[in-house]
């Protein structure tokens, strides 16, 4: 690198930093966020957390109710992910460059994916809540729609990454579309896809909490209930059960991923 290039890259870095600082300052102004205030509140907040968020013996009695709700949440996330994965597989096959049937379907598949992914899960839960009311199906559908968009995009990428030569070789032998997909595309991209599905289950358990708060289902609702009745010990217990579940599921899926990838 000569001196000129170094000077140029320094200049770019400086401009970049100034832009970032400018945007951050602007955001702070719009949101009325005070950086120093928040630093000042941090020790107080942490102190409050350590003082109040403990599990007391009485709260253990609530464990069965909490576990039942947690169970509902876990099943909700798994069912939403698996069913979304099945539909995403078709949308992914339509959307991928390698396996698309025609351009119209490809565009439609990508559009569905983009639409359902970019409308946040919050909006979906609120929209569905209006007509489905407070039951598990609302939460399930909200998770389902978001997962569908995400997995379709991930599947399109996995299928695109799979080698083209196997597809070409099968095409040369006169294989039908179904045979090509079954024998060349799916076997190559299945581990990738499975890894995405596992990742999505982890994510969905976390978002299920949020969806639960909004739609009044599962563990999120339990959390909200205790939170609003100022029962912070129970809040802690609920939080810990969620944390443990998420960590266990992460460990299991990491194991599976290590074998298949």
């Amino acid at each position: 690198m000569n001196e000129k290039a170094i000077r140029r890259s320094r200049w770019i870095t400086t401009v970049f930093l100034i832009i970032i600082i400018g945007i951050t300052y602007l955001s702070a102004a719009i949101t009325e966020f005070n950086f120093f205030d928040s630093i000042a509140t941090l020790p107080k907040a942490l102190g409050w957390i350590f003082e109040n968020l403990w599990i007391t013996p009485e709260t253990w009695e609530r464990l069965p109710i909490i576990l039942e709700k947690l169970n509902e949440t876990i099943f909700m996330s798994i069912a939403a992910t698996t069913l979304a994965a099945i539909i995403s597989l078709f949308l992914g096959l339509m959307g991928s460059k390698t396996t698309k049937v025609n351009n119209v379907f490809s565009v439609i598949a990508r559009l569905i994916a983009s639409f359902s992914r970019n409308i946040p899960v919050v909006a979906w839960s609120l929209i569905l809540l209006i007509s489905f009311g407070q039951n598990s199906l609302t939460g399930f559908l909200a998770l389902f729609v978001g997962t569908l968009g995400f997995l379709t995009r991930a599947f399109i990428e996995s299928i695109d990454e799979a080698s083209q030569s196997a597809v070409e070789a099968l095409q040369a032998t006169g294989a039908t579309y179904a045979q090509i997909v079954n024998k060349a595309v799916i076997p190559q991209s299945l581990p990738q896809m499975l890894s995405w599905i596992l990742f999505m289950i982890e994510t969905n358990i976390r978002s299920a909490t949020l969806v639960g708060i909004l739609t009044g289902t599962g563990i999120g609702y339990t959390f909200d209930l205790y939170y609003k009745s100022l029962n912070y010990n129970a809040v802690t217990l609920v939080t810990f059960t969620i944390v443990i579940t998420v960590i266990i599921i992460e460990l299991i899926s990491n194991r599976i991923r290590k074998v298949i990838l």
Binding site: A28, D37, E72, T82, V122, L126, I247
Partner: protein, 290 residues
Amino acid sequence: MEAIRGGAEPKQSYIKRTRTGRINIKAGNKVELVTKWTIAMLSVLTVMAFFFFNYTGLQLERAITETAYNLKTMFLEPSLSHFSWGEAFHQIGITVGLGVLATVIGAIIALLLAFLAAENLSKPWISKAVRVVVAFIRAVPTVLWVLIFAIAAGLGSEAAVLGMLFHSIAYLVKAFSESFEEVDSGILEAMRATGSNWWHVVTHGVLPSTFTYLLSWTFLRFEINFGVAVAMGAAAGAGGIGFELFMASGFYFDLREVGFITYAILVIAIILEIVSTRLKNRYFPAAVRN
């Protein structure tokens, strides 16, 4: 030698046979087995899930027709009734602003922590400790962090940003430290051989070669944080477009306004996605995933 073997029948253990005695032509592939089992388990759990659901007050037929009608009203006749366009822009600005703050501050703190968490730049016990803490923070959903901070620090942008910050830091520390660990150990060794200290190694060896990765990860996190900021507004009352969405659907039952807000969110999310795809294609780190 013959005596030791004891004339036992020679076993051709290297050929695997099925129970019927045929030669097994399927490789005893662990990958295939695990894949099959995972799929089977997921299917079983999915079927079971529908028996565990709580269907109180659900009239499926009515709900589906109603949803179809609602979706039509929302997406085909969006309009504003409870606030003006200017107000809408302001609220969107707040949401984006929350996302920016959580991402920028989070990235700076995460960068420092990631040096401690990366195995090739830090001591093993420090790296382990940071990882465990970060894994715990990540396991708690962001809403819960915000809600917990909201009681502790009072509701407002401070609580929202602090809550979102926790998660952003935890996510980025993991992503950053993994990028650092992928740095060619030869570079580090060469630099250490010249007598450069830790700081030199970081600024001249690690950062330049991972900068684009860090940038893509940070931008991805910004995309996520925008969605989180919407959620925080709705679930924790942290303000912004999410709160308006919550009010429109939960309080006024104004579907046209819900439609308008959804479109606004959609437009911004798509803009962010286009920018992020551009960034990705330009800096080509294939390892960066959503």
